[in-house]
Amino acid sequence: MTLDSKIPAGPLDRKWTTYKNNAKVIAPNNKRKFDLIIVGSGLAGASAAATLAEQGFNVKCFCYQDSPRRAHSIAAQGGINAAKNYQNDGDSVYRLFYDTIKGGDFRAREANVHRLAEVSTSIIDQCVAQGVPFAREYGGLLANRSFGGAQVSRTFYARGQTGQQLLLGAYQALEAQIARGAVKMYSRTEMLDLVLVDGHAKGIVTRDMVTGEIATHAGDAVLLCTGGYGNVFYLSTNAKGCNVTATFRAYKRGALFANPCYTQIHPTCIPVSGAYQSKLTLMSESLRNDGRVWAPKRKEDCGKSPADIPEDARDYYLERKYPSYGNLAPRDISSRSAKEACDEGRGVGPGGLGVYLDFADSIKRFGQKTIEERYGNLFEMYENITGENAYERPMRIYPAVHYTMGGLWVDYNLMSNIPGLHVLGEANFSDHGANRLGASALMQGLADGYFVIPYTIGDYLTSQFGKKVDPRHPAFEETKLQTTARVQRLLDVKGNRSADDFHRELGLLVWDKCGMARDRAGLTEALEKIPKLKEEFWSTISVPGSGESFNQALEKAGRVADFLEFAEVLCTDALAREESCGGHFRTEYQTPEGEALRNDEDYMHVAAWKYEGDGVAPTLVKEPLVYETVKPATRSYK
């Protein structure tokens, strides 16, 4: 099997323009003949649904939440990048492109990333026109802030709620189309399978989470905008409901899953305080501007109050190891160093999984008032969650899973290897390589939905004139029966362990063996343990109640069942990639100084995994990454 990425020919900065000039368009009177199925209503899903509907397509949109406004894009805090160069500080489309490629450790496609940088400016125009209340200067023009991984100030923001405001903009545009009758919205509805007709994606199977009704929906194309798989780790900064089911079901129907091992760990989260914990809360990375990270030098000191640990017994390990960047070392390095300190038994707080982020020096230097002005809301949030006053004793922080760069493989049209199946936003793999820069996730979701898919979907749809699928085609009933049987199987086990309990065990295992640092032995061990856990799941899971009602235990069980299978694909990919790059760190592959050691000769490719059957290892399909414009370099932060 070979993968055709369908990258347009020509110079990098002309590819998208050339593509648009030659794109296949569909006349207005023909658009209404096409029915599109969009799963997910976050930034990618809502923006795609609103845009395609206003263009004249018939859209059905699905979300598991009670309203499309609640999709997890809403929780993004920091901002959205765009190459507007409003600050006159040397930003350009090329610079945003280069920063993104470099941030991704040279594991993303040049053409996709350049297109993303090109459309970034239109996103800001679009959002402002929708009424997104971005921060402004006194003169009335838009304000910018700087963000990690860039030397220019190009991030637009709406207080600490940028994701919320961008999502509400897209949600409102979507609601306007629902009011017009152009979109039919299905809330509290979960996609449980993909329907293929003659190898093409022509529909989905859903479960109405209120009534339990399992139904099929037919369409001319299916768009998955269902987010990432961070919750395979159980604890992450994702919402509780985020799951891999839609993309994993598509994988089991033949779609390739690309680069699952690229997972991003955020260094400044509030640590886990006990087994009951259900999610991890992110705290802005900006705290590292004024806080000093340290752990006790001696294990014996870990139980002491930090005030009782004298200065010479503290190890300011980032300042020690990275003298020039110090506490501002990049996300992956900072996260890994915290893990190392804890692995050596020098962690603090419950379970020894935490390090200190100390503001004492900054408070001494600037006064408490200044620190309060800068970070008051974060200190309040920390106190609300932990009950500790960070002005008086250092904060405890620990890294947490935040974003997943891997996803279903797509070509330049955002179409997977299954004809008709398109994948947008975090659910696809295409733009962030091995690591994503801050403020780029919002940019990608909206780029895909507002400005890319409206142009690229025509490539597939124009091949489908006169090929409308009959919703009575046996494939629909057949897939529905399989889904119904699977749901029933979960209900029939009648064991004594909850889905959450299995999820926690899986999460701990995957975090331990395939988290911040990975090695061959650990991954091999995980790949032996996961199938056993899966077996135990199917013999002891407890799902009380019936399938024909609102049943949250059933919803969870179905999602955990998929995470259990997906975890194997994740570990398989991590084991196969024998190099360290971006969010994937293999301890066997590091420089003598402990930095990630890339292997461009053997691993400069996208690793796309093909499902071969239950209990059978997936096969690897490679898409070589060809760098025509940039020259891959080694990242250094010494």
Partner: protein
Amino acid sequence: MNFHLKVWRQKASNAPGKLESYEAKNIPAEASFLEMLDIVNDDLVAKGQEPIAFDHDCREGICGMCSAVINGVPHGKDRGVGTTCQLYMRKFQDGETITIEPFRAGSFPIIRDLSTNRAAFDRIIQAGGFISERSGSAPEANSVPIPKTIADEAMDAAACIGCGACVAACPNSSAMLFVSAKVNHLNLLPQGKPEKHRRVLGMVKQMDAEGFGNCSNYYECEAVCPAHVPASFITSMNREYTVAAARKSAGATG
């Protein structure tokens, strides 16, 4: 910590419901309110009993999905800082009895237990809570300067998370705080001006059609709002509405 819970259990919209007692045992003080419910539910599921259904998602106070009335107060806001998910058990006394009910309003039918249907809010947004603008047709973002004070006030209004606590807290089950937040957010901005009259008329009409009550200045909405949306927006909305209604009765269109 240990708690005695009295939880509203109701199998379906049309089924009768009642408060049932549960013991929440060995709850860490660091657990959030929803994590306390998770612990109780895990125990129920392991015993083959149906867990308490409740809405939640982001668990960081922004999605607006979680919704419970705790000891008579939406989100337990008298003890917490925001949404139900941001309330921590250390704010309770060991051994305390905690009553947990769904958001109660005729326009928010109960789906099951603590879970309610708040789709009425989506339908109010459909009636005008947007700016009509085609993707790709927007002018350059900086071509229309917006004074910082206006942008900030619009943001104050836009901060609404759509949870519905305002409705649950109001003796009249009024949705005026929610509706006024969106009307103010959009009507304040130059981009929202062209549709400002039809927006306020449409949204208020839909609000009434959904059966939400009127505002009679109890200010309970403002007190429980996790996003700190001020009740003064209701006043501004009433002004916008009066102007729009007068124009309409005088024969103006649009």
